[in-house]
Symmetry: C2
Subunit: 135 residues, 2 copies
């Protein structure tokens, strides 16, 4: 299943790429920093370099396979692009991330961009807060 995805976007099906894609696809955790991906692979005995993780994630982003987020603190977080856009609620205490999508907000964004003469390329909405468990 993963290999065709890679070929489809013009990337050779190399081991590091397959491993990274697998990790992103088959994991309860959906959001990873490059460092987290790197450590997770090392733990499973894969011998990959951090530089390769960055290179692969960047290629995946360019290919539309993953989405890169810039959360507070300047850290990049990557997640698999499941094809549907969504926004994020981030707990500032435990780091928990909840995804959501709101059609009303989406529509308002389109209307605002149009009103201001912008052609939307992308948009992201981050709500930072404290989740139930952390209060």
């Amino acid at each position: 299943m993963e290999t065709p995805d890679l070929k489809k976007v013009g990337l050779k099906a190399t081991l590091p790429r397959l491993r990274i894609l697998q990790l992103l696809e088959h994991n309860r955790q959906r959001h990873f920093t490059a460092e987290e991906v790197y450590k997770a692979l090392l733990e499973t005995g894969e011998d990959v370099g951090l530089a390769t993780v960055y290179r692969v994630l960047t290629q995946f982003e360019a290919a539309g396979l993953v989405v890169r987020h810039h959360f507070e603190g300047g850290l990049s977080v990557f997640e698999l692009n499941e094809g549907y856009h969504h926004d994020h609620l981030v707990c500032t205490k435990c780091g928990k991330i909840v995804e959501f999508i709101d059609e009303i907000i989406e529509q308002r964004q389109l209307a605002i961009a149009q009103e201001k003469g912008f052609e939307i390329v992308e948009h992201c909405l981050y709500i930072y807060g404290i989740c139930l468990e952390c209060r």
Copy 2:
């Protein structure tokens, strides 16, 4: 006008702080990276260090005088906190920034956070697009 602001938040009215505040207050440009603030001050003949710019901006942020944004590319951008929250449209070609506020979006955010059990600390919405002039 600026001095009282600084005193009010418990910061000594030192030259670098005054200069940085002035720059943020009296300028057509409203959004600056630390580097831009630094260069702007050097150009006006001020002898400040980049480290001080970062320190002062961070203090201003803690004091609520400025807001720090994490735009795409991982760059931090600072703007004066005029007291009212607003969101941003950013042109991915020329970097132009347009501010906006939409009550419907604000309300939806509150509703979503409540629904998911989050107590909102802050939130930011960035719409990246291409502005009229760049098309």
